[in-house]
Symmetry: D2
Subunit: 347 residues, 4 copies
């Protein structure tokens, strides 16, 4: 197999760590560079002892310099950087001929004014938005194959969009009634020294946060609106729970007039029957995060409540797997012609 | 202080343990009896080493025999028994002159046919339903004071009802749009040998369950309907998360036509300003279970989302505290003339 | 009851939080001041929402200024400050007539050169060492009653000393063979923004640290040597485990020549039979941290292994309870004439 | 690659689940049979939803019948059964021409009387003990290659033996002074419905158990004695901590007369330099379970304390990985001529 030289920019956080885990084990990848301002000069294995003895783990972190990254011969770069910062380095790497898979929010929104509304500053590279592809492989495989810039979706959006999109496309649920409740592991908040993320602050705790307008709402509503063919506005309530990894999302919406409950299952089946990373659990079966952690799977179960005429969608994914690093590698596989499950067959 | 001789029937589960914790420390209580079929003959402290050296913890568990319980001189009995079983012993104890605070579902529903629908068997004591008081002290203090049979509410219902009732009474939210998502600690599932409750099955796991028609829906809708003055049907999705204790509930509903967002805060303030166990966090402040575990508090924050016109209610309580044992003791205090916070001042 | 005006200096960490919890609930205490440089001006309940609605929790944090503290009329001060910092403010408060209970290491060591060896800087107040009493109430109740400066013991030392001291006094174990292994909850590392203490770094992790010469060794060996009547040097290996609170310690030592296994139990019984906070579990019964969290108890079990001639001592305490705040309050009760269990009857 | 048809007997517990995980992903294995009395007839993916969509996961559990297992064409069988039960089926499978890798204790002890002493019943197959090989691949690779019956070591023994054996062989530590303290995740206790293993009983808990004579002592001492060339008796104290997987062990022993501290590191390096699954962390570096979970690595750090003349060995492994399933697969690779890391390259 022809190995693709690959860089991870911003590899010392939790999404970066997951990308390292996946790419060090990907048979089609040669990890050419991993950057971290604060860990520059140290081998990967010194920062993440978990990777010691893995082939490639003696590579040293480098500064995130576009020329230096390009000089490694890297053909592809994953960006696991804060929004605002990612756009600039994405442009520099694109100019140097790399394909870029950005895990930040910088290229997820088609409309720069929505970016400004939700992220609080002007979009740093509006000219690149046109070519950026929102990288949900189950939805845009063909565009991803042809893209040189992927905006890999956020963790919450993935868990909400994949169950809902097929239903909206078929107009099976009433878009005005959508409420999504998510519970996320603490890794989703990042690897930063913050008292609120200490073990003793998160253990034995469950709490909502970021209401009513979490940043991820912007991309959620963009994609739901595309699928529905009309503007969709939803309620989204994220919660933090004491697990390291995993998101469980429960989404409710009214069944549309004229739709039948069994249409829900049929729509999901039709949309995902051939998808390697979507596992449909069927009617009445809840999804459990413990079955998907460290994998690229999203598990989806559904239920219908005749008493309220509401559909329930229950999904589970690993927030740093299918919700971040795994999904980005899934796009990478499409872009570079690998089999979909290459490097993603974690059990 | 005149101490009330008190029995706990079914004291070897988690609600029973919480009742033991509270009553052993209640200055107005003399624990006269604690029953457990499987632990009969053993001192409380042998089954729960946590209570060793507490005054009263050398009392031995006894069989749940009504005559034997009455013979201890007990004036009050807390029942922490499975539904179906509780009704029978409640009747026997009432006949022997005890006041009964039942933590099971047996007396929570006014309509025995709803009981049959949700619990799957005929109501075991329909003639007692009339006098049973649904024991939400913030709602029915006067009736509780006069009652001899209290149906202490379920853990989920408490976390959903207290934030919602004042809004429904004032018609501030549209009852047809209510969706409640709850996350519960594992103690809520009881202290029973069941593989699905093992540490390794619950740790690093988050999952919905019991959809779409969890048994607690029956009492939730009963009480919501009373407050709304019309039949209310809601969606309720419980989830299990890896904490020992605590329930966090997020409830959403559309703001009613004509209502203003600030009416929400005002209604909560008016309802609970003088209540010792309700802490109103105000607008935009989520409730965190870690602030209420091992207390009888329920914390309530709220938010309004103008984009969707939805109200968000965020509540947190200890599922075996305010959601079970604590609330039962709160009723007990009313029934026996103690100060509301007696025995419940846990920090 | 005559209430003692009391200050907590450094009340925004985990030991400070536990002191707040205990003193807000202590019937003999009026909390007159709580200091925190970073939280000055905020009410206690804003920093620790858990305490909201507790009487006294609307007190605002103040700067740690000795004059301001004295001006509140405080008669006693608990110091929950870093070593090195505590000594200075202790002196200032003593000069202003307060009794001081210091939870730092500053006054625990009789010999300032040992302090320098273990803490890496010159002792900040060697002239005060003579009058400081190492505050293990089970060992030095009389001196504590008479003291104006208490050096409250460290969390690890408490869990090691209480089981061992009676055995060394009677020469039942060989001091040269002592090995103590401890497992501590993460609260023991403090409430500081440090990546290594993040939820995701501590969850699903168990690791030794601070070997071979943890700072607590200095006070452990000092107290063991006093009991043995000869210099004692031991091995002590602390470990971090994913619980919020609790220390479990297993200590092994060879049974001394001439001693009998049953002497171990007898020595423990004799030492602690009348002690309200020591629970002797007997031979063969391990101690479990879950039975002591949020209490001032230390549970002690023991075992003897004839195959190796080793005694095993198994102890459990709450590291911020009996290992910090609870024990400090225990000394306070002695100093101010309260019943030993006043304010410490947490179940 | 020629795939070896393989059976897992007793595949519904946690070790069985780990074997499933490893063998479903092993490129040299065709999973021919998985047995479970209680799950017989169900597909693997129904019992373990985590494995859904993995190739092979639709295989149905079957009854543990030796003829039926042999009829699948299986050439190798892993036994994850209780001791006592394993021996009988091992014999039956050997008679049918399979190679057997037994994860129970049944063939670990050379001396059947020691088995009787520690396991409380007569050895069920003493005639097979001679040919059984205690399967520590780092110690007996050549014998494992030639064996048809492997007794795969216990989880605790692996974590204690690998660090100690090289030191005893070189007489660098005094065997009479060995004390091993281990902390294990709850999966080590098995997947059985037992109240003591419930989430609420293990969470926020740390406790010793099985003292002073845990069953694993028998194999620990057997192997240590072989290495030392003399009978070795040690103290071993296991503890249960709230993690799903992982064992951290700290072992102390006096440095032998004439040995130098640096000899420790040198002995470990010499023994394990070429070993793919032993990671030597060097002097002063503790091992952390979070770096080894779901891998076949054992991490080993060491320290020397001149104050006590004690050596400290700190090891970490996954109790169901290197401590059970992974190690068994490591032997399997040797027996069937695969590369050592085949199927074990989990990151």
């Amino acid at each position: 197999m022809n190995r693709v030289k690959t860089a991870i920019v911003g590899a010392s956080g939790y999404s970066g760590m997951e990308l390292l885990r996946l790419l060090l084990g990907h048979p089609g990848v040669e990890l050419a560079a991993a950057t971290s301002r604060q860990e520059a000069g140290k081998p990967l294995s010194a920062v993440f002892p978990r990777f010691a003895k893995a082939a490639g783990a003696e590579l040293a972190f480098m500064e995130p310099d576009p020329d230096a990254i390009a000089a490694t011969g890297a053909q592809a770069a994953f960006l696991a950087l804060p929004h605002g910062v990612a756009a600039e380095i994405a442009r520099a790497l694109l100019e140097r001929g790399l394909k870029v898979i950005d895990l930040s929010a910088d290229f997820r929104l088609n409309d720069p004014s929505v970016y400004q509304e939700f992220y609080g500053h002007e979009h740093p590279a509006p000219d690149l938005l046109d070519e950026a592809v929102y990288g949900l492989p189950e939805v845009r495989a063909e565009e991803i194959k042809a893209a040189r810039l992927i905006a890999s979706p956020g963790c919450y959006p993935t868990s909400i969009l994949l169950p809902l999109l097929p239903l909206l496309r078929r107009k099976l649920v009433d878009p005005a009634t959508i409420v999504a409740n998510s519970m996320s592991g603490v890794s989703g908040a990042g690897r930063k020294a913050d008292v609120s993320l200490l073990f003793c602050e998160c253990n034995e705790s469950a709490r909502a946060y970021g209401v009513p307008k979490h940043r991820h709402l912007s991309e959620i509503e963009q994609e739901l609106s595309i699928a529905a063919g009309e503007p969709v506005v939803v309620s989204f309530i994220p919660h933090l729970i004491p697990v390291t990894a995993g998101i469980a999302t429960t989404t409710t919406a009214k069944l549309a007039a004229g739709a039948k409950p069994e249409d829900i299952g049929a729509a999901l089946e039709e949309a995902y029957a051939g998808e390697p990373f979507v596992r449909l659990l069927g009617r009445g079966v809840p999804a459990d995060t413990k079955n998907v952690t460290r994998t690229n799977f999203i598990d989806i179960g559904w239920q219908y409540d005749p008493r309220t005429n509401r559909v329930l969608l229950m999904s589970a994914e690993d927030n740093i797997g299918k919700g971040a690093g795994g999904q980005a590698v899934q796009s990478f596989n499409l872009m570079f012609g690998f089999a979909p499950i290459e490097g993603l067959q974690n059990l």
